[in-house]
């Protein structure tokens, strides 16, 4: 079974970058796949990778990450203007971010307007086995 957790933008809107990244990462470490409204800033994405690397352990092997975001060069001027206003008033709610634990999500392919998420076969059985082994050792 794979669990998805939706994170609305309002839930992370007022958090600092570090808290934002940690909140998302904590959900992923519970073996859930995060579907977040909007996107992190580029710097936050780099922070997410950095913090993920710091947390890598035998039972956490990292993340798979993908973002769908309207590409600015494909938008006309009116759409860009509307987007800028919405950004100013509501924050950067455009787009969708998917973050999954690498132990469950094999890969996320973006091509470029659709996302395909491939899961690992028998991943939950494997994770239980690893955890049991770690507890016993």
């Amino acid at each position: 079974m794979v669990t998805f957790q939706f994170v609305p933008y309002a839930e992370i809107e007022n958090l600092t970058s570090v808290k934002r990244v940690n909140k998302l990462l904590n959900i992923v470490k519970e073996d859930k796949i995060v579907i977040m409204e909007g996107r992190l800033s580029k710097e936050e994405e780099a922070d997410l990778i950095e913090i993920t690397m710091e947390e890598i352990s035998p039972w956490f092997k990292g993340i798979e990450l993908s973002v769908i975001y309207p590409e600015k060069h494909r938008l006309d001027s009116m759409q860009k203007l509307r987007g800028a206003f919405a950004h100013l008033l509501l924050g950067d709610r455009q787009g969708l971010t998917i973050i999954g634990p690498a132990s469950i999500v094999k890969k996320i392919e973006k091509n470029p307007d659709k996302i395909e998420l491939f899961t690992k076969e028998g991943s939950s059985r494997y994770r239980k086995k690893v955890r049991k082994k770690i507890r016993n050792s």
Partner: protein
């Protein structure tokens, strides 16, 4: 964006008060096994006569930042460009020591490699701020739409660091430069083979353009 612009401006002024374009830091960034170290070796062999990094078919061979100081290249017009070449570990979002076991490494060796690789990724990200210009080295045979590629390029853009995308491994049949160009239409993309030196002269010319 504005903060990034001034940061870059002040950084360049402090290094280069008279505006001469010398002694830059040229970073090689990208995902693991894209060919960063092979390109670093190609540049060093062509201009210094010696290699700087070890290469391997197993990912995360480069796990520490390697710097080669005072690399000087010349273009056809006789202009010279001097820079420090910075070969960085591949940036990844996941590292599993079991992947190294599959490549034939022993358990202890694989675990050590995985640990060092995670530190390497952190180092590479930390060094982003000190780069003056960057070559993003992608494997031209692979899907360019990976979030790691987008995050690296986005972070360079946010810091106003000039970028050239080198789509490497064009000597392989599977390489598709058009897909890389379509993924990053706002950037200069050059197909190269760092291993065999294909398009390397054009690559050096583009370095001068990048450093302008």
């Amino acid at each position: 964006m504005v903060k990034g612009f001034f940061k870059t401006l002040f950084k360049r002024l402090s290094v280069n008060p008279f505006g001469t374009r010398n002694n830059f830091k040229l970073g090689l960034y990208g995902p693991p096994n894209g060919g960063k170290s092979t390109l670093a070796n190609r540049i060093c062999l062509d201009w210094l006569g010696e290699e700087m990094s070890t290469v391997s078919h197993i990912a995360h061979e480069t796990r520490e930042i390697n710097v080669k100081e005072q690399v000087s290249i010349k273009n056809k017009k006789g202009k010279e460009l001097t820079f420090s070449l910075v070969d960085t570990p591949g940036i990844a979002t996941k590292i599993d020591y079991e992947d190294f076991l599959k490549k034939g490494l022993k358990k202890l060796e694989a675990k050590k490699r995985a640990k060092e690789a995670t530190k390497g990724v952190i180092e590479a990200i930390k060094w982003l701020d000190s780069m003056d210009f960057v070559i993003v080295v992608l494997d031209g045979t692979k899907d360019p739409y990976s979030q790691v590629n987008i995050t690296i390029i986005g972070n360079l853009q946010a810091r106003n660091i000039p970028v050239l995308i080198a789509a490497n491994k064009v000597d392989l049949k599977k390489a598709n430069i058009d897909v890389v160009k379509a993924a990053f239409p706002q950037y200069e993309v050059l197909g190269i083979s760092a291993k065999y030196g294909k398009n390397i002269e054009e690559f050096y010319e583009l370095l001068f353009k990048l450093a302008k």
